[in-house]
């Protein structure tokens, strides 16, 4: 456990010692801030739903930026030789790294509470909708982080891993639209893989256990995949 925390702490240091996290946060709040002001000024309705809907779209661009160097950078700098020859197992290394992204996600989610805070000055917010929306974007972000982590473990090139992460997340996003263009059983099957539509219930104010389980298994799957990809490197 100590090794996991050591890796997690190190990753957080890397995020905040380098400009990566700041740039990503700035970009995120620039875009969401723009959406927020435009939406709120034009509609004059105290409602967080359009806001959190927009945020999910911004995640698509910000999260690959936050995850692209996670493993790629180790592979490029040769520090993977340090990690993989230490007593830490690859599982511990990946979990440590993933925990760091969760902390970043948590920080990002907490920062978004600024918008509802502003809204609450102008009217009363629907509390369940607010908190479940916050939970939903946290879960969605965490799931995307896991995909990004997986993409990063595939290659030593940050840019490539960023693009692969973006494309993977985009594909999981497009599944929704694909689902709309087919009918019957196929539609049901395809929508099972959609990571975005799972947030719908939360944003209506319904606590959706199935969606929660979905996100957790989804995250586990990508964490395990990343571990396997790196474990294979020992057998190159």
């Amino acid at each position: 456990m100590r090794r996991v925390w050591a890796i997690c702490r190190k990753e957080l240091q890397m995020y905040f010692y380098s400009p990566v996290a700041y740039v990503a946060f700035a970009f995120f709040f620039l875009i969401t801030g723009y959406f927020f002001s435009v939406d709120f000024l034009s509609s004059q309705v105290v409602d967080v739903r359009p806001l959190y809907g927009n945020m999910m779209l911004v995640f698509l661009f910000v999260i690959p930026l936050l995850t692209m160097r996670l493993v790629s950078d180790e592979l490029r700098q040769g520090t993977d030789e340090l990690l993989f020859t230490s007593p830490a197992s690859i599982g511990e290394i990946i979990i440590g790294k993933y925990l760091a992204t969760i902390v970043v996600m948590l920080l990002l989610t907490v920062c978004t509470l600024l918008y509802p805070l502003i809204l609450s000055k102008y009217g009363t917010l629907d509390q369940p909708v607010l908190w479940l929306s916050v939970l939903s974007i946290f879960l969605l972000g965490a799931a995307m982080m896991a995909v990004g982590l997986f993409a990063s473990s595939l290659t030593a090139h940050q840019m490539v891993s960023g693009i692969v992460g973006f494309v993977l997340i985009l594909l999981l996003w497009l599944v929704d639209w694909l689902g709309e263009s087919v009918f019957g059983k196929a539609k049901e099957w395809i929508s099972l893989f959609s990571i975005v539509s799972r947030t719908n219930n939360f944003q209506k104010g319904i606590f959706d256990i199935a969606a929660l389980v979905f996100y957790i298994t989804f995250i586990l799957m990508f964490v395990v995949l990343s571990i396997n990809v790196l474990e294979r490197k020992r057998w190159r």
Binding site: R3, A6, Q13, E81, L82, F84, T85, S86, A88, R234
Partner: protein, 336 residues
């Protein structure tokens, strides 16, 4: 301490190592030599557990790398070819991270970090960002990382590559000191390094170990003919004729000379025997009988360079390099 048993690593493109087999006992400093691409790094990566061998078994202090990887890796300190550093971190926070990663007990962490900082001369640079350190200091931080958890076995992949001559001397001195408490395996392609640092040398070529021995005794191991270099005062042709009369002598060659020609000029010769038997006494008697004083006679031993080149060059070297013109240069190199 370390046992490498019939270890092979096969890559798709055929390069790799084949049936490497050696063991190291506690306290040895072993130099691992070989041309680029011979398999040094691959072998070291397998010993440290970074790569799994395709076949064979590696045991570190009784712990099998495949069965107890964590316990085995805990006993190893590893400095890869490029020191594995995070440029964004300060020296201190980097070493703290390593201490946690390598299971250094939390109570000892502070003192242990203090010790290695002292030992590697990093005092005063603890707060410096690694990116801003010079290459020599980065190498020191890399070494600090490798010894922080007091490993029994220290593995270093070309620890002096890319450093300037002063830094090389410093790092070698450090390695020598470390060798007093650790078992060390270091790879290099700088040959004098092996002679000065190691008490054993392994030469690897094309993924196979071609030599395993003491760097001082290498000359006897190759089955070369006995060679003597000789300085005699006397007429050149007569001396050479006399020497050739000795039964055991095969070749007599003149070595080039810097001194101006003249009657009293001593001649320098290289005499090669037909086999490995000592011909020095025979030469002495022959010259004494003819009245040509021997000014100098020295048994020639192969330097590590010669051994290395002979073992790793793919085509056998010509047995008799007839022209002696280049010989003097090599000779100077050996004396130095």
């Amino acid at each position: 301490m370390l046992e490498v048993k019939e270890v092979s690593k096969l890559y798709q493109n055929q390069r790799g190592v084949h049936n490497i087999d050696f063991s190291m006992s506690r306290g040895e400093i072993v130099g691992f030599l070989g041309p680029n691409g011979a398999g040094k790094t691959t072998t070291m990566r397998m010993i440290t557990g970074y790569l799994n061998p395709t076949r064979g078994k590696i045991t570190v202090d009784g712990m099998s790398m495949s069965d107890h990887p964590k316990k085995a890796r805990r006993k190893i300190g590893y400095l890869p070819e490029t020191p594995p550093l995070y440029p964004e971190m300060s020296v201190e926070s980097y070493l703290k991270f390593i201490a946690d990663l390598r299971d250094v007990p939390a109570r000892e962490r502070k003192t242990r970090i203090g010790e290695v900082i002292e030992k590697l001369g990093l005092r005063g640079r603890e707060r410096q960002i690694i990116r801003s350190l010079s290459k020599g200091y980065r190498q020191r931080v890399g070494l600090a990382q490798a010894i922080l958890h007091k490993p029994d076995l220290l593995i270093m992949d070309e620890p002096t590559s890319g450093l300037d001559p002063n830094q090389i001397i410093e790092i070698r001195q450090l390695i020598k000191e470390l060798g007093e408490n650790h078992t060390v395996l270091l790879s290099t392609h700088i040959l004098p390094e092996v002679s000065t640092l190691c008490n054993r040398v392994l030469i690897i070529n094309n993924g196979k170990i071609v030599l395993d021995g003491n760097p001082d005794q290498l000359d006897g191991t190759l089955g070369e003919n006995f060679e003597v270099s000789l300085e005699v005062r006397g007429p050149k042709d007569a001396v050479i004729r006399e020497l050739k009369q000795i039964e055991a002598v095969k070749i007599v060659r003149e070595l080039r000379h810097d001194l101006p020609d003249g009657e009293d000029r001593p001649i320098r010769l290289q005499v090669t025997a037909r086999d490995r038997s000592d011909i020095r006494e025979a030469i002495f008697h022959k010259m004494a009988n003819s009245g040509y004083p021997i000014l100098e006679m020295r048994k020639r031993s192969l330097s590590l360079e010669d051994v290395f080149i002979r073992l790793t060059a793919n085509e056998p070297l010509a047995a008799d390099p007839g022209a002696g013109e280049t010989e003097e240069l090599k000779e100077v190199g050996r004396d130095a």
